[in-house]
């Protein structure tokens, strides 16, 4: 109960800071609009106001504070504006509508899940290779690390162009970008997991003259499960990020990334923020879902911590 209160307090503080930030961020826009509407503002012309500090403007025009939370296209939308937009574009819209965030989220989700499956599969395969072959360890691991140092935003358009030139379009390019981001945590986690059995466990198998295959299926793979799930939770979030980034350079018309892009074209900040929140909520749900599966599996395996 006490921790619940603490969590609520932190949440309230974040919301309060957000509302407070909206005032200086949006005051110029509000005052410009008010001036056009014939209201009395201090100072009276936008030219003078442009060179003034925002806090000075707020102090001189306290009447405008409430309006900084109600603009159509604020620089920074207020929390309730984002929530209202989220509500309007999810619950109030048919999911088949092009304006429904559920529709866009589902488009992105498809690419995310496909990318996640590809990335996880590739990651596990690479990890198995790395654990069993010194050559692979030395040749693959450095490249895997280097691959993650390249900004995905720079790489994504190239991946799409290259794939387009060989005739691959649609969901697959997005999924590949998503896989590109998600395979790495799986490789790292699985390598650690497959190597987690201690010397005693390995010696025990040796006394049975067990071969590598048996050691893998009976000991290494089951031992790696806690590590795998930790990686999967990072991987799925990375997959979603990849899918969204994959939607940006194509000028896609659907998907959360497309929604972000469209919002920024038309200065629809509320739309951008609600798409951002939709992405965050989706990522949260995916991670939570994996967390639940993790709990179930590890409990069944007697490995719950």
């Amino acid at each position: 109960m006490r921790s619940f209160l603490a969590v609520l307090t932190v949440l309230a503080a974040i919301v309060a800071i957000w509302y407070a930030a909206c005032v200086p961020m949006n005051i110029k826009g509000v005052l410009d609009a008010a001036e056009r509407g014939g209201a009395e503002v201090m100072p009276a012309t936008s030219k003078v106001r442009r060179d003034m500090g925002t806090f000075g403007l707020v102090a001189g025009n306290t009447f405008a504070i409430a309006q900084t939370w109600e603009q159509d296209r604020p620089r920074l939308p207020a929390p309730h504006q984002v929530i209202t937009e989220l509500w309007k574009t999810t619950v109030m819209k048919k999911v088949t509508s092009k304006r429904s965030l559920v529709y866009h989220a589902q488009v992105t989700l498809n690419a995310t899940l496909l990318g996640f499956v590809i990335g996880t599969g590739l990651g596990i395969l690479l990890a198995v290779g790395i654990v069993h072959s010194k050559v692979m360890d030395m040749s693959v691991m450095p490249w895997a690390i280097v691959s993650q140092t390249i900004p995905i935003i720079a790489l994504a358009p190239m991946i799409i162009v290259v794939l387009y030139s060989i005739g691959v379009q649609g969901i697959l390019p997005k999924a590949i970008i998503s896989a590109y981001l998600s395979f790495f945590p799986v490789v790292v986690g699985m390598v650690k997991g497959l190597r987690s059995p201690d010397a005693m466990q390995l010696d025990l198998l040796k006394t049975y003259s067990a071969n590598t295959n048996q050691g893998f299926w009976k000991l290494r793979l089951p031992s790696s499960m806690p590590y795998l799930f930790t990686s999967l939770k990072i991987g799925i979030a990375a997959s979603l990020l990849g899918a969204i980034v994959g939607e940006l350079p194509t000028g896609a018309v659907s998907g959360l990334g497309a929604r972000l892009l469209a919002g920024s074209y038309y200065g629809q900040t509320v739309q951008i923020w609600s798409a951002l929140f939709a992405a965050a909520i989706l990522a949260g749900l995916l991670v939570a879902l994996l967390g639940m599966i993790e709990k179930l599996v590890l409990k069944r395996m007697g490995m719950a911590s």
Partner: protein
């Protein structure tokens, strides 16, 4: 029962069958601080049906010697045979079961499935696996616990399950590396008693590493006292205690005398580097 008494009689009649023979055994580990002589000029014969304890301070090579017998380490000099073969060949013949200090049961397997692990690896049939699990659970007095998971068992019971796992494929030699080292005194007494019973029933040859003098004296027919830097044997004591040993034998004068000799041996070995 018959075969057991005959082998025992054989062992006592002075024509014992050597199971392990080590001659001038050396083992040097290369380390960053230069080579470490883990075993130096070790000569030892273990006969069939012996219960041999290895005792000594840490670094004396007692565990290393056990691991050499099990082909987990390979000597850099001298020879060792197990059942007349090299340790590697003996392992392939399933000559020994090994019990570590930690039970090391797989948490995702039930006790029965844990005991089946070596049987699965060695390719026993399903029916044979079930039969053997029943048998060894009986031997370690865990009958009825096959369906439990390791976390449902106490530390002592887990260690008994790990002994059952080592017994499952019916190796003649049981190698135990401080198997009760992590357990408290009362549980340890109980397990020692059980282990002696199990040894009497199965007539296995047992190699047992310990750092407890009473444990070594209580269990063994032969006590090997070792000392460190370099790891070597300083004394081999043939126990005069009868094979049948109730717990209160530890209060007898004979027991105290043997324990005294072990302590003397340990002290002598220790004096060298001081």
């Amino acid at each position: 029962m018959n075969t057991q008494t005959t082998t025992q009689a054989q062992a006592q009649s002075g024509a014992p069958e050597a199971v392990v023979e080590a001659k001038n055994l050396d083992l040097v580990f290369p380390t960053n601080d230069g080579p470490v002589q883990a075993l130096k000029d070790v000569n030892l014969t273990i006969n069939k049906g012996d219960f041999v304890s290895f005792i000594g301070p840490s670094g004396c090579g007692k565990t290393t010697f056990l691991r050499v017998m099990a082909a987990l380490e390979h000597p850099t000099g001298g020879t060792i045979t197990v059942n007349g073969m090299s340790p590697d060949e003996a392992r392939k013949q399933r000559a020994y079961g090994y019990v570590f200090q930690a039970a090391g049961l797989y948490p995702w397997r039930t006790i029965a499935k844990n005991i089946k692990l070596p049987l699965e690896i060695m390719g026993y049939s399903k029916a044979e696996q079930d039969k053997r699990v029943e048998q060894v659970l009986e031997l370690v007095e865990l009958a009825g616990f096959g369906g439990k998971y390791p976390w449902q068992l106490s530390g002592g019971m887990q260690q008994r399950a790990s002994i059952a796992r080592a017994l499952a494929f019916d190796a003649d030699i049981l190698l135990m590396d401080e198997p009760f080292g992590a357990l408290d005194e009362i549980v340890r007494d109980h397990l020692n008693e059980q282990l002696l019973k199990l040894w009497a029933r199965t007539n296995k040859t047992i190699g047992f590493v310990t750092h407890s003098i009473p444990e070594a004296v209580y269990l063994s027919t032969k006590i090997v006292v070792m000392s460190p830097r370099p790891g070597r044997i300083t004394d081999v004591i043939e126990s005069t205690l009868p094979r049948e040993r109730p717990l209160d034998i530890r209060d007898s004068q004979e027991f105290i005398d043997i324990a005294h000799r072990v302590r003397e041996g340990l002290r002598a070995g220790h004096g060298d580097d001081e």
